[in-house]
């Protein structure tokens, strides 16, 4: 299983709809400071429900909506190639998430192959392929420094979570 395509619209600095193709080996992402590289990583964490808004450098979820032209909804879609049936699902699986700003706060919706579902559904499905919020498969900018700077006690807690 691997990420085949990422579609981002009005999430953080992606004010225009963007579709990014990915392949099943080693892809580098590069560009100037502030161009949006870390926002791509954040968009995957957001869509798969793997992180809190704190790890995405935002105070509240609505800060993730593009703040350029008054957009009110952010959308991210991750299309997985599941030909190797690592997930108990079709040969292609799509996870999507939307956050909409409302007068009193926000709505957050998750979708699995186009049908509304809950975060728990997504977590259950992804855990079959060892993708969990505590997993170390996504290393954010600054995580390396954090592992070095924390106390030995904090560092042990990393192993506790995994055990």
């Amino acid at each position: 299983m691997f990420i085949k395509e990422l579609e981002i619209h009005n999430f953080k600095s992606f004010g225009k709809r963007v579709k990014i193709p990915f392949f099943d080996d080693f892809t580098a992402v590069s560009g100037p400071n502030g161009s949006g590289k870390s926002n791509i990583v954040d968009s995957v964490l957001f869509c798969l429900g793997l992180s809190t808004s704190r790890t995405m450098r935002a105070e509240k979820l609505t800060d993730l909506i593009f703040n350029g032209d008054g957009a009110n909804e952010a959308m991210v879609k991750v299309r997985f190639d599941n030909a190797d049936a690592e997930l108990p699902a079709d040969t292609e699986v799509t996870v999507a998430r939307k956050v909409r700003r409302t007068a009193s706060g926000y709505y957050s919706y998750y979708y699995l192959d186009g049908k509304p579902c809950t975060l728990a559904d997504i977590h259950e499905l992804l855990s079959k392929a060892c993708i969990t919020p505590e997993g170390y498969n996504v290393v954010l900018q600054g995580d390396i420094t954090r592992i070095i700077e924390v106390s030995p006690l904090e560092r042990r807690k990393i192993i506790d979570e995994i055990a």
């Binding site: 299983m1 691997f2 990420i3 953080k12 600095s13 992606f14 004010g15 225009k16 963007v18 990014i20 193709p21 990915f22 392949f23 099943d24 080996d25 080693f26 892809t27 580098a28 992402v29 590069s30 560009g31 100037p32 502030g34 161009s35 949006g36 590289k37 870390s38 926002n39 791509i40 990583v41 995957v44 593009f66 350029g68 032209d69 690592e86 392929a129 060892c130 993708i131 997993g135 170390y136 498969n137 996504v138 290393v139 954010l140 900018q141 995580d143 390396i144 420094t145 592992i147 070095i148 030995p152 006690l153 904090e154 560092r155 042990r156 990393i158 192993i159 506790d160 995994i162 055990a163």
Partner: protein, 150 residues
């Protein structure tokens, strides 16, 4: 609970020794402060070269520290393999030679899993199969400018 921690620790430590030797050419290990009651103590990262004293991660240089932290992350990933990995500028503190070693290790691991690596450094970009360029356009909107094949 203690059993589960010790099993995880021993297996991750075995991975760490392997990977750290590959990445840095020195010997290293993870160590629990209190093996009788692990929840009562912390976790150290130690390393030593031939002839050098044992040093804890606190006394290492910036680059040596980040290599040790990377080895720990890779050791955890070997224990709990996932289908895809995303790394965001993990090679910032490394000199050219160490950045190349890390890039080569990722290249090897990418045979069995997908790796998406954000980096500004040449060794990483050159080792990847392709590079996705990102840039800021009019109105401060990010866009993907294309995929360069290596």
């Amino acid at each position: 609970k203690k059993e589960a921690l010790l099993t995880a620790f021993n297996s991750i430590n075995a991975n760490f020794k392997d990977i750290y030797a590959d990445l840095s050419g020195a010997t290293g290990e993870l160590a629990l402060e209190n093996y009788e009651d692990p929840f009562d103590g912390g976790l150290f990262i130690r390393s030593w070269q031939q002839g050098k004293h044992v040093q804890r991660i606190e006394g290492m240089s910036g680059g040596e520290k980040s290599l040790a932290a990377l080895a720990m992350i890779f050791a955890i990933q070997r224990y709990l393999p996932a289908p895809f990995y995303m790394f965001d500028e993990i090679d910032m503190f490394l000199d050219g030679a160490n950045a190349e070693r890390v890039a080569r290790m990722i290249k090897k691991l990418s045979v069995n899993a997908q790796f998406i690596v954000v980096s500004l450094r040449k060794p990483m970009i050159e080792a990847a199969s392709r590079t996705i360029g990102v840039s800021m356009q009019e109105g401060n909107i990010s866009s993907v400018t294309g995929v360069k094949l290596n």
